[in-house]
């Protein structure tokens, strides 16, 4: 317990905007990178702006490194420019009338000195005299990060930092950003809609849906035990909610799934890794107790993996090899049997 | 695409014709009625002319008088640019000569004289007694523009008494000078005796300033191309009659 890095950001943000209400508790530890994911409109950018102090809280508090920045109901709110929280914006938002080095030095008040250390790792040293409109999207993002880090903030917020980049650009940028962020030792909260970014960068992933936090866990746990349908879809798993009874789970549409658990009672969430779903062209015999007659809605190939979307008694996805698809001779519209071992069914108890 | 929203061609034509008709009626003017005359008069004669217009319209009920009152210079310019008038009364011979020389008027006659007066605003009336006081104090003076009879006279007068007019403001007509002095927006003004008489404010008047030695005469003429020669001459005749003479003296003018 003594080695626990100390708590850097401790906040509860409540914002009301018309019919939308954001109510989330977020914490970031020193030197920790937390990824904030969620569907569009979940309130991610609003959350960042509230932590920055740009939006007044309807309720809640913001504490940074033990210092109270804002508490709803009290007057002594610390303004944005005094919070020591930096933000890297979606499109960089570099000041167009200043060149790269002047952008980077903007918040420092002095010139150069500690700024030069940032240029190398971010690979922007040769861009210092250029103007933002002469840079590519990836270069702009790295300059924006340098600009924010130059002010040595305690917490760095990043809003879709890789949003404007293409796939290869992202992979490179991900690495650079990750390295640089860790090197500074500041805490970071990264908003991203791309799960690859989240899994690559983050120590912890926070899921925001409809203004509420639905899961907050390290990447492995998110990956293997998604708590909601959206998270499950994010990591590509099948997700169903149903009623547990003994070792069976009955879904709303009547389908029963046999599990290897016992004593189930009440609402449960069932998650199934697509790789655990096997496909047969004839009804299988043998040990799996879960098999369903479906037909193929679509097949997507990613490298050597074929993601087969099936519709039937319920909608389920199966991951098989490209070769398997060829062997089975299946295509859109084909009729198959999908089967699943009871031991492969993950169960999470749901409250209420 | 746009066809439904534009009114049809026929109704556009009707509208256009209506507009043209209305505009040309408007431009051709009210007042070129069969029995009305246009009188251009210098602004210093305002009250006199207004009184005599009343008299005229009482005597000749069938005829209207349309008055245009402005500084003599402005009136000359308007006539040079082709304005229509039947009777012209200006505040200086030289202005009238400009019109006579280009044949716009016939045989001007002098109908009045007016001499200069130096007036002081109500605020300072008690403190300023002589032109010497004006010379000494850093007072704000107002005069007419140099191109007007009053203004020309004012400059002549000022140089004769050594009065510095370099910071004086030039107003476009003498009534404007009077109003500024009455309202205390300037301290001193050089106007006509008639203006002093017409004022209802407690203005100061520098009687010993010798301004009354400078005076102008008022020529009146009927325009050469007037179509209402008889009516115009009827109006002109009023000035020589007792009613005209008494009106002139009542408002502070001198008889020619």
């Amino acid at each position: 317990m003594n080695d626990q890095p100390k708590l850097l950001l401790d906040c509860r943000i409540v914002i009301e905007r018309g019919a939308f209400k954001l109510d989330a508790e977020v914490s970031v530890k020193q030197a920790e990178i937390v990824a904030l994911v969620g569907p569009n409109g979940a309130g991610k950018t609003t959350l960042l702006e509230a932590i920055l102090g740009w939006l007044p809280l309807a309720d809640g508090r913001v504490l940074l490194d033990g210092r109270t920045l804002e508490v709803h109901g009290e007057n002594r709110t610390v303004p944005t420019h005094e919070r020591e929280i930096g933000m890297v914006f979606q499109d960089g938002l570099l000041f167009p009338h200043l060149n790269v080095i002047r952008n980077i030095e903007f918040g420092t008040g002095t010139s150069l000195t500690n700024v030069s250390e940032l240029l190398g790792p971010l690979e922007i040293a040769d861009l210092v005299d250029r103007y933002p409109k002469e840079l590519s999207a990836g270069q702009r993002q790295r300059v924006a990060l340098a600009r924010t880090l130059a002010t040595a903030p305690k917490l760095v917020l990043l809003d879709e930092p890789l949003g404007a980049l293409d796939v290869t650009g992202r992979a490179i940028a991900r690495k650079l950003i990750g390295n640089v962020l860790r090197a500074t030792g500041a805490g970071a909260l990264v908003v991203t809609h791309d799960p690859a970014d989240a899994f690559a960068l983050a120590d912890r992933i926070l899921v925001l849906e409809g203004g509420r936090v639905t899961q907050c866990a390290p990447p492995d746990q998110i990956r293997t035990r998604p708590a909601t349908k959206w998270v499950a879809e994010l990591v590509g798993w099948n997700f169903f909610e149903g009623d547990g009874n003994g070792s069976l789970v009955k879904l709303a549409n009547g389908v029963e799934i046999a599990t290897a658990h016992s004593g189930l009672d009440g609402p449960v969430a069932v998650t199934i890794n697509p790789t655990a779903v096997a496909l047969y062209t004839e009804e299988p015999s043998g040990s799996p107790r879960n098999s369903w007659h479906c037909h193929v809605e679509s097949i997507e190939f990613v490298a050597d993996v074929a993601r087969v979307s099936l519709v039937g008694p319920f909608d389920i996805s199966a991951d098989v090899t490209r070769a398997a698809v060829a062997d089975l001779g299946i295509d859109t519209g084909s009729v198959v049997w999908a089967s699943l071992k009871a031991t492969e069914v993950e169960i999470q108890l749901l409250q209420g | 695409m746009g066809q439904q929203s534009i009114p049809s061609t026929r109704s556009m034509r009707i509208l256009l014709t209506a507009v043209i008709v209305v505009v040309s009626v408007f431009l051709n003017g009210c007042g070129s009625g069969s029995h009305s005359i246009r009188v251009f008069a210098a602004s210093s004669l305002t009250e006199v002319v207004q009184r005599l217009v009343e008299e005229y319209e009482t005597r000749y009920p069938n005829t209207d008088v349309e008055l245009n009152i402005a500084g003599s210079g402005t009136l000359v310019m308007q006539l040079q640019e082709g304005a229509d008038a039947d009777v012209v009364i200006l505040a200086s011979r030289s202005h009238m000569n400009q019109l006579r020389d280009i044949g716009l008027v016939l045989a001007p006659q002098q109908i009045a004289r007016n001499s200069l007066a130096v007036i002081v605003s109500p605020q300072l009336a008690k403190d300023i007694d002589s032109i010497e006081d004006v010379r000494r104090g850093a007072l704000q003076i107002a005069i007419c523009v140099t191109s007007s009879p009053c203004g020309a006279l004012a400059w002549a007068y000022a140089s004769s008494v050594g009065l510095n007019l370099s910071s004086a403001t030039h107003e476009s007509n003498v009534k404007a000078v009077l109003v500024k002095v009455e309202r205390d927006e300037v301290d001193v003004g050089i106007v006509y005796m008639s203006d002093l008489r017409s004022s209802r404010e407690q203005l100061g008047h520098l009687v010993n300033a010798r301004a009354d030695q400078y005076s102008t005469s008022y020529p009146l003429a009927v325009t050469a191309d007037s179509k209402k020669r008889r009516e115009a001459e009827n109006f002109a005749a009023l000035f020589a009659e007792p009613v005209g003479q008494s009106t002139l003296t009542h408002f502070g003018f001198q008889l020619p």
Binding site: W54, P96, H97 | T169, E171
Partner: protein
């Protein structure tokens, strides 16, 4: 490909252009070109030109000083309060200039609401002085600054200020180092429009500042006076004014209402 204007509209546009251009062409046609050097070298013209240039430039600067804060305030407001403030700030532009001059007189004249106090306390009198000319000109020119700069500010992404704040820069310094440079073209456009307006101002000047040759007789006033006596001189000075106006327009080019 831009579609052709309907015939009627094209005809109307042609007539409209002719109506606007005809007076200018007539002016140019009547100018005594050979006499120009002589006419323009008189003391009256020199005084008026110098006074016009100096007072209009100072008035434009004053309009910027007054207009920029109003524009900033307006850009943060919405709804009725914004419309009200905007109407008040734009009033001098819509008001007949003579009425504007009269209003200034009632406020700052020797017997005006504020003017009387200024006179009694500091002996400061504004009418009939070049300062009065500057005030009258700045009064009518300020709305142009307010409108151009407000529209420039509203077109600016508000997140730039957030970015500056997130970098630890105070709001004041952010305004100076980020916002103002980024609305540079609006400021320039506003300044030029204000200058052009101040240069051409007549009604408010003659009503408030009077007509004192050498002190408050700007070029437009001199033209007015000269129209009665020396028509040629009036034309010559008119030409100078047209020329300066053209320069201002060329400098503005298409920066009228910045819609980046």
């Amino acid at each position: 490909m831009t579609p052709q204007l309907p015939r009627l509209l094209r005809l109307a546009a042609f007539v409209a252009v002719a109506v606007v251009v005809a007076p200018l062409l007539s002016l140019l046609w009547r100018i005594p070109w050979s006499e120009l050097p002589r006419l323009l070298s008189t003391e009256v013209v020199a005084d008026a030109l110098f006074l016009s240039l100096v007072t209009s430039l100072i008035a434009a600067l004053l309009a910027l000083l007054i207009g920029i804060p109003i524009a900033f305030q307006l850009s943060r407001m919405t709804g009725i309060s914004a419309s009200t403030l905007r109407a008040v700030a734009t009033l001098p532009m819509v008001l007949p200039p003579v009425v504007g001059g009269a209003a200034l007189l009632f406020a700052f004249g020797r017997r005006g609401l504020i003017g009387e106090t200024l006179d009694n306390a500091a002996g400061l009198v504004l009418p009939y002085t070049p300062a009065g000319v500057v005030i009258a000109n700045a009064f009518v020119a300020t709305p142009f600054v307010v409108l151009t700069i407000e529209s420039g500010l509203r077109a600016l992404d508000p997140r730039y200020e957030l970015a500056a704040a997130s970098l630890g820069v105070t709001p004041l310094r952010a305004t100076l180092r980020v916002v103002l440079p980024m609305i540079r073209s609006s400021i320039v456009a506003g300044a030029f429009l204000a200058w052009a307006r101040a240069l051409g101002e007549f009604g408010a000047t003659i009503t408030f500042a009077g007509n004192v040759p050498g002190r408050t007789q700007t070029l437009p006033l001199a033209v007015f006076v000269a129209m009665e006596t020396d028509r040629d001189a009036a034309l010559a000075m008119s030409l100078v004014l047209v020329f300066i106006s053209l320069i201002v327009l060329v400098c503005l080019r298409d920066r009228w209402w910045p819609a980046k």
